[in-house]
């Protein structure tokens, strides 16, 4: 059995009276891709924001390679091996594509891919000298991915990287993400596209209204009554 990279225990997050996350728990192992699905507003991105230090959880603990993460800052989390991409890409628009990746690479602990290798990996080598703000949305998402990879993360949260891509591009991105699992990295993939997830993940967690309603294989999830109700609604309701 591979080593556990990340474990969440009873994570809850409230915004005033709204419970965005309620006692969410899961773990992900090295070399594993875990899918995180749920309708809009189910708490997927909030969960990433909690794990990646943007929000402090109201309850629960997070463990990275068995070590409990206390209250810490996003840059320390990034350096210690947790990173993410963004649902709405967030490149440093006025910097060049190369500089976007260089910043992160400069803060990496240990070895990893060079900036050139990363840019080639995310198919942005041709645009290295161009301002990141001039890239299209799909390219900006790949740049987010490249920037995260520059820190050689142990666990990477990928937030809707496939949105807006055509089937050929989706297959390419799925293959790209799969190759990231080599070397013991763990992926947590947030996605609405089940076909994309099917090519990529081993199991999924389904969230609804901040609560975990399913945990298991993707095919089983698609047959699960509550998951169907959440995604498709109830006939005659």
């Amino acid at each position: 059995m591979a080593d556990e990279i990340l474990r969440l225990e009873g994570i809850s997050k409230h915004f005033g009276g709204l419970s965005a996350l309620q006692e969410v728990s899961f773990s992900v192992e090295g070399g594993e891709a875990l899918g995180l699905v749920g309708p809009n507003g189910s708490g997927k991105t909030t969960l990433i924001n909690v794990v990646c230090g943007l929000y402090t959880p109201n309850a629960g603990n997070i463990y990275l390679e068995g070590a409990k993460l206390g209250k810490t800052t996003p840059h320390k989390l990034a350096k210690s091996g947790i990173n993410r991409t963004f649902q709405v890409p967030q490149p440093f628009a006025s910097l060049t594509v190369r500089e976007n990746v260089e910043i992160a690479a400069a803060h990496r602990r240990g070895d990893g891919m060079s900036v050139v290798e990363i840019l080639d990996f995310v198919n942005l080598g041709k645009w290295a000298g161009q301002e990141a703000g001039s890239l299209n949305a799909a390219q900006q998402k790949r740049l987010d991915l490249g920037r995260a990879l520059a820190l050689n993360p142990k666990v990477l949260f990928v937030d809707e990287l496939g949105a807006g891509l055509n089937p050929a591009e989706l297959a390419e991105v799925a293959a790209m993400l799969r190759s990231l699992l080599n070397g013991g990295r763990a992926l947590v993939v947030v996605e609405h596209l089940m076909g994309f997830l099917d090519k990529l993940v081993d199991r999924v967690i389904v969230l609804n209204a901040g609560r975990e309603i399913f945990h298991g294989g993707l095919r089983s999830a698609l047959d699960d009554g509550e998951v169907k109700r959440v995604f498709l609604g109830t006939v005659g309701a």
């Binding site: 840059h75 967030q90 628009a93 006025s94 990496r108 060079s114 900036v115 000298g129 920037r147 820190l151």
Partner: protein
């Protein structure tokens, strides 16, 4: 040669060297120009003030242009520097030139005191620094501190006045401020500051220690304002709190920086020389039209060159090269 982390192509290295060379020229040309300035223009005090404002505009460049924090209360550091230097010269009897460093220290101390303001963002941050600057001014001008700061009655540095030393101090100060900007712009520190300006959280996820770096940028900007205030006070000789804790100082420095274009080494210098030159020319020759002409110049800037002169120039070059490429293609 590629290193294991950064990597890079020879072209990128060449472009960086070219950029660094242009940036160093942006230091050398003003320094040479002001070194011979008195041969062409005899108003020494105006040239000293202009050099101080060039440096101040670059302080704004570091705080706002690179990091994204607009300090309307920048005059608080400036005034603290003027008083810090004056107290060191008059009470501690340090030589005037050394006193300028005390001005920088005073600016830094006020800057450190105001670090908690970084909990605020955008307009709230700008307004809070304005209030903090006024608060520092009120403390310094308080009659109950007359035994230390002379309260509202101002200070007099006539005993240490030396026009030659003041001019050289202003020149060296401006050169150091420009060099600081070149170093910031061409370093990983500067790159990280620009990332912070775009998105603090994304910068943090790229491993950037946002709190540490923006504080460092703030302290550098405060030190520049502190020394600037010290030289301004020395050159002015007799000054009152209202002269060195004047919000117009912040406004001028900000407008000069924005007019020239922030995030560059050329921009704030060009902005200061042109606008302060215009300000002085109109103010001396046609003071009745001063505010009208100055106001029109600023409105024109915002309408036609919102990224400043440097941004306007860059856009023009880009359009030209695209047109040429189109003609060749």
């Amino acid at each position: 040669m590629l290193d294991s982390k950064g990597g890079g192509k020879p072209l990128a290295g060449l472009l960086r060297r070219k950029t660094l060379l242009l940036d160093l020229l942006a230091v050398a040309i003003p320094v040479i120009g002001f070194s011979f300035g008195l041969n062409f223009y005899s108003n020494e005090l105006l040239l000293v003030y202009m050099m101080v404002y060039v440096a101040l505009a670059h302080g704004i460049n570091i705080s706002y242009g690179f990091t994204g924090y607009l300090p309307f209360g920048y005059f608080g550091f400036f005034g603290a520097g003027a008083y810090g230097a004056t107290l060191a010269i008059l009470d501690l009897h340090v030589p005037a030139l050394l006193g300028m460093l005390f001005g920088g220290v005073a600016g830094v101390l006020v800057g450190l005191l105001l670090l908690p303001l970084f909990r605020l963002r955008g307009a709230y941050f700008a307004i809070a620094t304005l209030a903090a600057g006024e608060a520092v001014a009120d403390i310094v001008a308080n009659p109950s501190l007359q035994s230390i700061t002379n309260g509202p009655y101002g200070e007099n540095l006539a005993s240490v006045y030396s026009s030659g030393q003041i001019y050289v101090a202003a020149l060296v100060f401006m050169a150091l401020a420009l060099l600081a900007v070149v170093l910031v712009k061409n370093s990983r520190f500067g790159l990280s500051l620009r990332a912070i300006k775009e998105s603090e959280y994304s910068a943090a996820m790229a491993g950037v220690n946002v709190v540490q770096l923006r504080s460092l940028a703030w302290v550098i900007a405060a030190a520049i304002a502190g020394v600037g205030g010290a030289i301004f006070g020395w050159a002015t000789t007799v000054f009152y709190p209202s002269a060195v804790f004047d919000s117009a100082i912040s406004v001028f420095a900000i407008v000069f920086a924005l007019f020239g274009g922030t995030g560059s080494v050329w921009g704030p210098t060009l902005g200061t020389v042109l606008l302060y030159g215009l300000y002085s020319a109109v103010g001396l020759s046609s003071p009745q039209y001063f505010q009208l002409i100055y106001g029109l110049a600023i409105v024109g800037l915002i309408l036609f060159a919102p990224r400043g002169l440097v941004g306007f120039g860059r856009a023009a070059v880009r359009r030209l090269s695209l047109r040429r490429a189109g003609a060749n293609g």
